[in-house]
């Protein structure tokens, strides 16, 4: 059966859908959808194939959008997406993830976690995270106090990891009732009096290794890390990467040793690709070494930045890698990151990219 690769792209001015065949050379662009709302993240619900979009309108507030016809028509809901009238309003939805038992998690700003068990029609607050004893100490990163990463365990429905900026990684092993900070070994260089606090680390993104639920790769404000014990401890694998900083990271769908990321210049030096030389780095040995790839990318005057959700991989063989820039360029590699082509340079500011493979 022929397959189609679909890129779901969230931008500051709506979401876009790009389709290609398995060659991934020519792409069609549809959009904007979601009425031009700012969209941070898009996912596909595995069972139904429905597209879900995490959004927040400056005028109309936060919502999760849903399309059951491939993006032609959409509904939206934020029913239950509130901390209550006495608390700070939720401004936007930052992240989505499906659970192995058919649920959907949503991470929001200000940081918190919600769950839907009816396809996104209604939401309930996971109070155990918000009620964590460290909550009064949580502080925002430059992007706000946001819950931006959700990684459910692929088979154990009681286990989920979340990432909050600038607070760190938390894990639950009881379905969300209680949460444990998981930041041991992760630096917080911006806190010189305590470089290794319990919380306060600025996690930017993390992802699970293929077939190894206890192995997680983390892209942090201060370096890159891997955990081999389900996040209980982290080992730094920044190695010879050109900088400590960056936002995005993806892992291989079948090879636990392989991951990709895009280093950026330091926070006070522009947060663009180092020396304005565009490059994607990958490891094939769990972070012991890193390989730079710039074939096809601009090697000078490339003042490009890639945000935390704006990198994705598909599941074909060879794997396709896509990243979007904050200046509206979308780049793709159909050979696992060895060479790159630009799909388009005319989208709005790109915030999120997801890649899915569907039957044509």
């Amino acid at each position: 059966m022929p397959k189609k690769v679909r890129l779901l792209v969230g931008t500051k001015k709506g979401a876009f859908i790009l389709d290609s065949d398995e060659a991934r050379r020519d792409w069609s662009v549809t959009g904007p959808v979601c009425e031009g709302w700012p969209v941070h993240d898009l996912i596909v619900e595995p069972e139904s194939g429905a597209i879900l979009a995490a959004a927040g309108s400056p005028w109309f507030g936060p919502a999760i959008w849903r399309s059951e016809d491939g993006g032609s028509s959409w509904t939206h809901s934020s029913a239950g997406l509130t901390y209550g009238d006495g608390a700070d309003p939720i401004t936007t939805v930052w992240s989505l993830a499906t659970t192995p038992d058919g649920g959907i998690f949503a991470g929001v700003e200000p940081a918190g976690l919600f769950r839907s068990d009816d396809g996104g029609a209604t939401w309930r607050h996971i109070e155990g995270l918000t009620n964590h004893p460290t909550r009064p100490t949580w502080g925002p990163g430059a992007g706000g106090l946001i819950l931006h990463t959700i990684v459910p365990h692929p088979s154990d429905t009681d286990r989920t990891w979340v990432g909050i900026s600038a607070v760190g990684v938390f894990e639950t092993r009881d379905g969300g009732d209680s949460w444990v900070p998981r930041n041991v070994g992760v630096r917080a260089e911006f806190n010189p009096e305590n470089r290794f606090p319990e919380t306060g680390q600025c996690v930017h993104k993390f992802a699970m290794a293929a077939g190894e639920p206890e192995t997680l790769y983390q892209r942090n404000h201060c370096g890159v890390y891997r955990s081999d014990d389900g996040s209980e401890t982290w080992q730094e694998i920044t190695g010879d990467l050109p900088t400590d900083f960056g936002f995005s990271m993806v892992t291989h769908p079948r090879d636990a040793d392989t991951a990709w990321l895009i280093p950026l210049s330091a926070p006070d030096q522009g947060r663009y690709m180092p020396d304005a030389h565009a490059a994607v780095w990958r490891t094939h040995d769990r972070g012991a070494s890193w390989i730079c790839s710039d074939a096809g990318l601009p090697t000078h005057d490339a003042f490009l930045s890639v945000l935390r959700e704006a990198m994705a991989r598909d599941t074909l063989d060879p794997v396709g890698i896509t990243f979007g820039t904050s200046t509206g360029q979308l780049w793709h590699s159909s050979d696992e990151g060895r060479s790159w082509r630009m799909i388009t340079d005319t989208l709005p500011e790109i915030w999120g990219v997801e890649a899915v493979v569907v039957e044509a």
């Binding site: 009425e35 400056p58 005028w59 109309f60 507030g61 919502a63 939206h76 809901s77 934020s78 029913a79 997406l81 509130t82 901390y83 209550g84 009238d85 006495g86 608390a87 700070d88 309003p89 939720i90």
Partner: protein
């Protein structure tokens, strides 16, 4: 019943809803709740935790700026307008 006039960008979120709506209520908050009863989800688009009108939503009752507690007469005309903001 008061007449509530909704903006295009809000109508786009609720296919089939008309720009002009006759709604029963003694305050702006009651009108919005009345709208929500017939158009589920409408209140969430206009009201945030507090409860209060979202920061970039303006409501005018008979030409005067209003909030959720503003009284509404049966013959009132209520405009809901998104603020001129963005980039």
């Amino acid at each position: 019943m008061a007449t509530v006039l909704l903006p295009r960008s809000l109508l786009a979120l609720f296919p089939g809803v008309e720009k002009r709506n006759d709604v029963t209520g003694a305050t702006v908050g009651e009108l919005i709740s009345g709208l929500d009863a017939s158009v589920p989800g409408m209140r969430d688009r206009l009201v945030e935790a507090g409860p209060r009108l979202r920061p970039h939503i303006n409501v005018f009752v008979d030409g005067e700026p209003a909030d959720l507690a503003t009284a509404v007469a049966p013959a009132s005309v209520v405009h809901v307008l998104p603020a001129v903001s963005g980039g």
